[in-house]
């Protein structure tokens, strides 16, 4: 496909990063930033990978090869958590295709979802997902967008008891249904929660993130770039002066470091179809993170742009 001709390959990007020999900012040796999953203490890198749109490329061989390069770059740069859903069309099949071809696939921390209104279909959907990914169990199984969560949670908990799931979670996106999510978080035996949080969508700071910390939940953050809208709004501006203090070379790292510096957040899952963007995202795993005072300033300054 045309994208392969235009976009740089993983090898080219990784070689380019080395060839640049740019002096690292102060504190860049810090990291990679790992976060514990409260339920077990297992640590995962704070930057993961989403697959909404980007890995839904059907059967096209060229596009699948390009996404395999993206996944390989993700692993090479220290990533582990890959999140998907049956809602994402062919994304799970493409992940499976890529996992069979990358080196070090054992790095994978697999996260997917159950997405069906009928509880009786949940088992089959989880089995299909294992087949598509080509793995015997999932690290994290979530109820997608709270769809029939009370019907699916018993099924997923049974899968956990059977050893086919390690952690159980629920998700929301777009900042919707936070009241219902709060009730589920407070009352159900969850290990994880996924929700939307970024430098301009900060409703989760008020109740959900403190509740997740109180309940000892892994927190997965979707839409860290607001589906690209943050770049549309702010990428034309020069990086603020404080970006250098936290080792950020680009806006992606600014947006991601704002998220993963929240003490309740475990992992942010930006999605990309490009190896060079993956390299930018994974740069946020290293270098200093903003403290609370700087986080306040970041949000204020970005809102003022």
């Amino acid at each position: 496909m045309s994208c392969e001709k235009i976009l740089p390959t993983r090898r080219a990007v990784l070689a380019g990063l080395g060839a640049l020999a740019v002096p690292l900012p102060a504190g860049a040796a810090i990291g990679p930033h790992l976060r514990p999953i409260p339920a077990t203490g297992e640590r995962v890198p704070a930057i993961g990978m989403g697959t909404w749109i980007t890995f839904n490329v059907g059967d096209d061989a060229g596009l699948r090869a390009a996404r395999t390069e993206v996944l390989q770059a993700f692993f090479d740069l220290g990533g582990q958590v890959v999140d998907s859903s049956p809602m994402y069309g062919s994304a799970q099949a493409v992940i499976g295709h890529a996992l069979a071809r990358v080196s070090a696939p054992e790095r994978l921390f697999s996260a997917t979802k159950v997405w069906t209104p009928l509880a009786m279909l949940g088992d089959g959907q989880m089995a299909d997902a294992r087949d598509l990914w080509g793995i015997p169990r999932f690290d994290l199984m979530q109820v997608h967008n709270l769809l029939n969560w009370d019907g699916h949670l018993p099924t997923i908990l049974a899968e956990k008891a059977a050893g086919r799931v390690r952690y159980v979670g629920v998700t929301t996106s777009h900042g919707r249904r936070h009241d219902e999510l709060e009730q589920v978080m407070a009352r159900q035996p969850l290990d994880a929660v996924q929700l939307t949080y970024n430098v301009v969508d900060r409703q989760a700071e008020a109740r959900l993130l403190p509740l997740a910390a109180e309940r000892g939940l892994m927190v997965v953050i979707n839409r860290p770039f607001k589906r690209g809208a943050l770049f549309d709004s702010y990428a034309r501006h020069p990086l603020p002066s404080w970006a250098a203090e936290i080792g950020c070379a680009n806006w992606a790292q600014v947006f991601l470091k704002f998220i993963i510096s929240h003490p309740a957040v475990t992992v942010a899952i930006p999605a990309t179809s490009r190896v060079d963007h993956m390299a930018e995202n994974m740069g946020a795993l290293h270098g200093p993170l903003p403290d609370q005072a700087l986080r306040v300033r970041m949000a204020r300054d970005i809102a003022a742009l």
């Binding site: 045309s2 749109i53 980007t54 839904n56 059907g58 096209d60 069309g89």
Partner: protein, 207 residues
């Protein structure tokens, strides 16, 4: 909320076009049959022209939406059902009851309809070509929902048809037209435009 990007969309069309060949020239033959039926009398011309539209809508339902589009879009089964419903409506009204007439009327609405039909046959594929796409990643007449919908609206306008037959094609203009903005597919701007001129033509004809 479209769960794929333009690369995946056109890659899907490449695979689809390759797999269904030679359905594309067959679809053009069906389109020409409908055009000929407008201007020449022949035995069962209305029923045959209606049957041509039935085949196109049924093919889009099964081959495109159900078999291919469903691999990247979770809503595709719903679209397949809608296209199958339109095929059944056309079959019931046009083939079964003989209530669909294609004879050329020559009024302003008829001219608008003829223009839409010609645009679907030639203009839409040409626009796609101009936008930079080449075989096989071309949404083609008769086997892709966009040009099939525009052609059908034109045929219904040019002849005589009851309003229920317009509903699903008009709805698809809204659904398919969203790709123009969300996927940067400029030729799909023709879908909402076709819906607008169809509604205007219907209003003009009623007055």
């Amino acid at each position: 909320m479209i769960p794929y990007d333009a690369d995946a969309f056109f890659a899907l069309f490449a695979a689809y076009n390759t797999a269904i060949w030679p359905a594309q020239p067959a679809a053009y033959a069906l389109g020409l049959l409908v055009l000929v039926a407008m201007f020449r009398r022949f035995v069962q011309r209305d029923r045959l022209a209606a049957a041509a539209l039935v085949v196109m809508w049924a093919f889009n339902a099964v081959a495109y939406h159900w078999t291919y589009f469903a691999t990247i879009n979770f809503l595709a089964p719903v679209f397949a059902a809608a296209f199958a419903a339109q095929a059944l409506l056309l079959a019931w009204s046009g083939v079964g009851r003989g209530r669909l007439h294609f004879a050329w009327r020559g009024d302003p609405a008829g001219w608008i309809g003829l223009t839409l039909m010609l645009f679907a046959l030639v203009g839409y594929p040409a626009w796609t070509w101009y936008a930079g796409h080449r075989w096989p990643d071309l949404p083609m007449f008769g086997i892709a929902p966009g040009p099939t919908t525009i052609f059908t609206l034109g045929a219904l306008l040019a002849g005589r048809a009851t309003w229920p037959l317009f509903v699903i094609p008009l709805l698809w203009c809204a659904v398919g037209g969203s790709a123009a903005w969300l996927l940067d597919v400029p030729q799909d701007l023709s879908l909402p435009a076709a819906a607008a001129v169809t509604l205007i033509a219907i209003a003009v004809r009623r007055h």
